[in-house]
């Protein structure tokens, strides 16, 4: 036993300085709580141990939502962006998703500075080895060196550090990501608190040397001509400074991987952790999609001041020599030099059905979880939860009700509801298909959906909020104007319409109706719309989307309404599921574990059937009557 000494007391302590930990620590401190953030290495605050990019489908939405609530990720990404693309341009505004290549070290540096400069936030390099709660409900956190801190609330944002173990072929060893040492002792302490821990795994591809790649034979992928920032506060659009490339695996790659499959710890059964279904390793892809001839890989720079290149789509846990062999089968990579090998990493996490939508863990008042600890995967998912956990820890310290975001309000709300209601059997990745409100939850209107909330809770400053109100007013005015504006059927207009493959007009045409046509955009019609005011790209995008998709948005809102009925049907806190006749055993067990707050939430629990929901509804209406 090492001797302990008393260290400082805080309102909120955050364990972990990754994407979840940063947002948690910042929001807690910004809401006025004295906060401490512990990280095993201060050089790795905001580290990107996997892809050097932020955003992508649904993840881009999360970043915009974070920003609207007062998070930091969007601003940091804009400041350190190397290349920016809006994905899914042709597939509709609901699925437009911003993705940016990021300078990995620059991002980490920006975040380190931000947490250091944040008043009310102390940043400390330490490994927490023990977490216990005393009789007064105060949490005690002990470091490896024996310092004993206390906090009213604790946020677990341990990422892949918690009992981390790295696997490469036959080799495995205890380790955190990127060669960091793991958090070896905390798990035992958490188990003593009754937290049901389990193993998940994830993986990352190799980093290879830039000058060992023949770019001349690869497909080029450039950034957008006109770029857009993540943050609503960023005024200068980010510059494209680098390009990415696309390469393809081939039959030879497949052959080598299949021949060596037995050497993969995933297939030999050494790894017990469950990997992410939606982000499979290359060996997984080759086995699961056996008839696919080739798989794409993206070659992305890790930064401006490094020659390390990231091979997106090629994560692997095969032995290093096998990795080198199959990388070199790929056209353009014949002479590739691996700088960091690909590896799989296994870590402890919790099944999130053991938490509330506030991200507080059941039966452990004041203990919150965020990010990979909660079973999710991805920087953006982690940051989103970190923000919510930070807000709710601070609100708990202040005696305020927790902030619960509904599914209808945001992807963040959907993410958390999915996690705490359905749990997850593999690392959870956000996707647009997870939201039933896709057309309503767009990245262009994240500010309208969430900034009023961010402002009200105190994370969005007055200037940012005023700018939002102005955008909103501009949008509403412009929609009213184009709805009331009629264009006369001039030859010029009709020639243009015909050139776009849409019918000419014979009488005055309502501008809004023209914008509704799939072949036309709001900007297209500018030459015929003399009275058009000057508006920012964002506002123009909002106007166009709301007009074009008006009917569909209304329809989705109608569907939302139908579901809200069940969402508003609250379940009493003291409900005794054992006493409700007609509920199936499996349902009773699940309901008791998840502790849903509403019938709507109950209906989303896997293992609770529609028949069980009918039984619940009938029970409730009987209770209501008696």
């Amino acid at each position: 036993m090492i001797p302990k000494y008393k260290a400082e007391s805080y309102d909120v302590a955050v364990i972990g300085g990754g994407h979840a930990g940063i947002e948690a620590a910042l929001s807690s401190a910004r809401l006025g709580c004295s906060t401490v953030m512990f990280s095993i290495s201060l050089d790795f605050i905001g580290n990107m141990p996997c892809n050097p990019s932020i955003g992508g489908t649904a993840k881009g939405h999360l970043v915009r939502e974070l920003d609207a609530l007062g998070g930091e990720m969007g601003k940091a990404a804009d400041k350190t962006s190397l290349q920016s693309r809006m994905l899914n341009r042709g597939k509709g505004p609901a699925v437009y998703s911003l993705r940016a290549q990021i300078d990995r070290r620059a991002y980490s540096g920006y975040m380190k500075q931000t947490v250091e400069k944040q008043s009310g936030l102390d940043v400390k390099q330490a490994e927490i080895t023990e977490l216990i709660k005393d009789d007064t409900g105060l949490w005690h956190l002990t470091t490896r060196l024996g310092a004993e801190y206390t906090a009213k609330c604790v946020i677990l944002a341990t990422g892949t550090f918690l009992a981390g173990k790295v696997y490469i072929g036959e080799v495995n060893y205890e380790s955190g990501p990127d060669g960091m040492f793991p958090a070896k002792y905390l798990s035992d302490s958490l188990k003593k608190l009754g937290l049901p821990l389990r193993r998940f795994k994830t993986g990352t591809p190799a980093r290879v040397a830039r000058d060992s790649i023949d770019f001349s034979v690869l497909e080029l992928q450039e950034g957008d001509k006109i770029t857009e920032p993540f943050s609503f506060s960023t005024t200068t659009p980010p510059e494209n400074k680098v390009v990415c490339h696309i390469a393809y695996t081939n039959d030879e790659t497949k052959k080598i991987i299949l021949e060596n499959l037995h050497r993969s710890p995933l297939y030999s059964g050494v790894i017990e952790g469950v990997g992410p279904r939606y982000c499979p390793s290359i060996e997984d892809k080759i086995v699961r999609f056996a008839d696919k001839r080739r798989h794409q890989l993206f070659i992305e720079p890790c930064g401006e001041e490094t020659d390390e290149m990231y091979l997106q789509g090629m994560s692997s846990s095969l032995p290093e020599e096998v990795q080198i062999k199959f990388y070199r089968t790929i056209k353009g990579l014949e002479n590739v030099k691996v700088m960091r090998n690909a590896y799989a990493i296994e870590y402890d996490c919790i099944d999130p059905i053991n938490m509330d939508a506030s991200l507080e863990i059941h039966n452990n008042p004041g203990l919150f979880g965020a990010g990979q600890f909660n079973g999710s995967s991805g920087y953006e998912e982690a940051a989103a939860q970190g923000l919510v956990a930070g807000i709710n820890a601070a609100r708990k310290v202040k005696g305020l009700a927790p902030l619960i975001l509904s599914r209808a309000s945001s992807y963040i709300g959907t993410l958390i509801d999915d996690l705490v209601t359905k749990g997850c059997m593999d690392p959870y990745r956000m996707m647009t298909s997870r939201s039933e409100y896709r057309l309503v939850l767009r990245q262009d209107n994240a500010d309208e959906r969430l900034m009023p909330i961010g402002y009200e809770i105190g994370l969005v400053d007055h200037d940012t909020y005023s700018a939002f109100l102005l955008r909103k007013e501009q949008k509403e005015k412009e929609i009213a104007r184009v709805t009331a504006t009629y264009l006369s059927p001039t030859e010029e207009l009709n020639a243009f319409l015909v050139s776009r493959g849409t019918a000419p007009v014979s009488t005055g045409a309502c501008l809004a109706d023209l914008i509704k046509r799939p072949q036309l955009s709001y900007d297209d019609l500018a030459p015929f719309d003399k009275a058009r005011p000057e508006l920012s790209y964002l506002v123009r995008q909002k106007v166009e989307t709301e007009i074009k998709y008006d009917g569909y948005i209304k329809r989705q809102l109608m569907q939302v309404d139908k579901m809200l009925h069940l969402e508003n049907r609250k379940l009493p806190e003291n409900i005794d599921y054992d006493k409700i006749k007609g509920l199936r055993l499996e349902a009773i067990e699940k309901l008791k574990r998840v502790l849903p707050k509403s019938v709507g939430q109950a209906s989303r629990i896997s293992g609770v059937s529609p028949a069980d929901i009918s039984v619940l509804l009938i029970y409730l209406s009987k209770e209501g009557k008696s």
Binding site: T57, A58, L87, N88, G90, K91, G92, P93, A94, V95, S97, K292, R294, Q296, F298, M431, T432, S433, E436, R438, L439, P518, Q519, Y549, Y552, R555, Q556, Q559, K562, M563, H565, L566, K581, G582, L583, R584, S603, S609, P610, A611, D612, I613, S614, V615, L617, I618, Y619, S621, K622, K625
Partner: protein, 454 residues
């Protein structure tokens, strides 16, 4: 969910080898123990689920009513999900009635129509669509109706709807993949794949909608109006079909002044028959009223049975009736084939014709097949699922509207995210139909049909 224990005769009434009384509820076993004594001497409460005992139904004075077999089901493994005892006694209406009376004396409440099914549904033993089918089975009239309901209770609707939801889920998944993996090379997630899937789903929905009308005719009976000028044998036909002297048949034309309604089974279909006053020009005020009401009926009937006297040539009244029914679903009946014939199907070009003698009861079989033909009941194949009620129909119609919209949107170049909203809408409607999605509407339906919460 049930607070009390109920009992009812669960086998069809009438003479039969055995009859069954089902007791269901918390006290089912103790109630049964009061009126049933096993030969072995063991009480039923000592038996586990799926166990049977042989013994006697014992009346309050200690005498035995009948030998019986008691079958014990323990909750939740029973039809209703509650404790259930089924007492099998010798068939025969009187024995069954007395046995039930005894069970009720011992503390059970009489079960309402469909009560067991209601309990099964409320206890999560069957989905809403199946419960509805069972309810429909209980109230089914006619053999064809029974067949449909039985098929539905066996899950035919769920199967048909699931086929469609599978198609839609595949399309929705395709759309999601198309959007969620923008940089990947994907097979099976192209616009043309979505179009194909949607088209197939729409065709299947259309079939369900088309079959509903036919199903409704089968389930609720076909509203048939017997029309024709006086004294061509309308009432004789009615009586033939009813097998009783429902209408007054006399040789005086114009005897039937009122509309006489009767529900009869013709073969395996059910007809709701209306016999009308002869349609002809008349001065009699009372009769004229009858005639005008008969004409009104022609407009609302599902099928018109237009009767003509085969032994006499067509006259002005006949021709005017033919004009009246030309655009309607009608069958021409050439009656009185027992007499010398002056008319033949050639005189009724374009009509489905049946020749019969109502008086001698010859040719009624032909009428049945003719009705099936004009109602397109033949188009309903053995395996077709038929929706049971308006709620199900409205779900399917809503889904069909959504799909139609999705296809139009895709065709006109609307982006897939919006198309996805329509596909989701269609899926919601269908899941609501089968009860897999519990929404406001489903709850309303539950409360409407199953008078819960008393």
């Amino acid at each position: 969910m049930s607070e009390n224990t109920v009992a009812a005769i669960s086998s069809p009434m009438g003479e039969g080898g055995i009859g069954v009384i089902r007791i269901s509820g918390e006290d089912a076993i103790s109630v049964a123990d009061k009126c049933f004594k096993a030969v072995s001497g063991k009480p039923l409460c000592s038996l586990g689920g799926y166990r049977a005992a042989f013994g006697n139904i014992v009346l309050s004075d200690g005498t035995s009513l009948d030998e019986a077999v008691a079958l014990v089901f323990r909750a939740p493994k029973s039809y209703t999900g509650e404790d259930v005892v089924e007492l099998s006694v010798h068939g025969g209406t009187e024995i069954l009635r007395q046995a039930l009376r005894r069970v009720l004396e011992c503390g059970a409440m009489p079960a309402g129509a469909g009560e067991f099914t209601k309990r099964a549904f409320l206890n999560g033993k069957m989905p809403l669509s199946k419960a509805e089918s069972v309810m429909s089975l209980i109230s089914a009239r006619g053999n064809e109706a029974l067949k449909i309901s039985r098929k539905a209770a066996g899950g035919s609707i769920d199967r048909a709807v699931n086929e469609i939801t599978d198609l839609l889920k595949l399309t929705a998944a395709g759309i999601a993949t198309y959007s969620d993996y923008p940089d990947e090379e994907l097979e099976g997630a192209k616009i043309s794949d979505f179009e194909k899937g949607l088209l197939k789903a729409e065709e299947k929905l259309n079939t369900l909608i088309k079959n509903y009308d036919t199903g409704k005719l089968i389930r609720e009976g076909i509203n048939c109006v017997i029309a024709g000028k006086p004294n061509v044998g309308k009432s004789t036909l009615m009586n033939l079909l009813c097998g009783s002297d429902r209408s007054i048949v006399t040789a005086v034309p114009g005897t039937t002044r009122d509309i006489i309604e009767n529900s009869v089974n013709l073969g395996d279909i059910t007809l709701n028959l209306s016999d009308t006053a002869g349609i002809h020009a008349t001065d009699d005020v009372v009769e004229a009223e009858g005639v005008s009401r008969a004409k009104e009926l022609l407009d609302t009937a599902a099928v018109i049975l237009a009767v003509f006297d085969g032994s006499a040539p067509l006259d002005a009244d006949d021709r005017s009736l033919l004009e009246d029914i030309r655009t309607k679903r009608a069958i021409v009946i050439i009656n009185k084939t027992d007499l010398e014939q002056r008319l033949s199907p050639k005189d009724f070009c374009g009509f489905e014709c049946v020749m019969l003698s109502a008086k001698e009861g010859k040719g009624a079989d032909n009428l049945q097949s003719a009705i099936k033909r004009v109602c397109q009941m033949d188009s309903l194949s053995e395996n077709d699922a038929v929706l049971i009620n308006e709620r199900q129909l409205s779900c399917v119609k809503e889904a069909q509207k959504y799909i139609e919209e999705a296809r139009t949107a895709l065709f006109s170049g609307v982006t897939v995210d919006a198309v996805g909203v329509c596909v989701d809408g269609a899926l919601e409607s269908l899941l609501t139909l089968t009860g897999e999605r519990v929404t406001n509407a489903v709850c309303d339906e539950i409360f409407k049909h199953f008078c819960v919460g008393k």
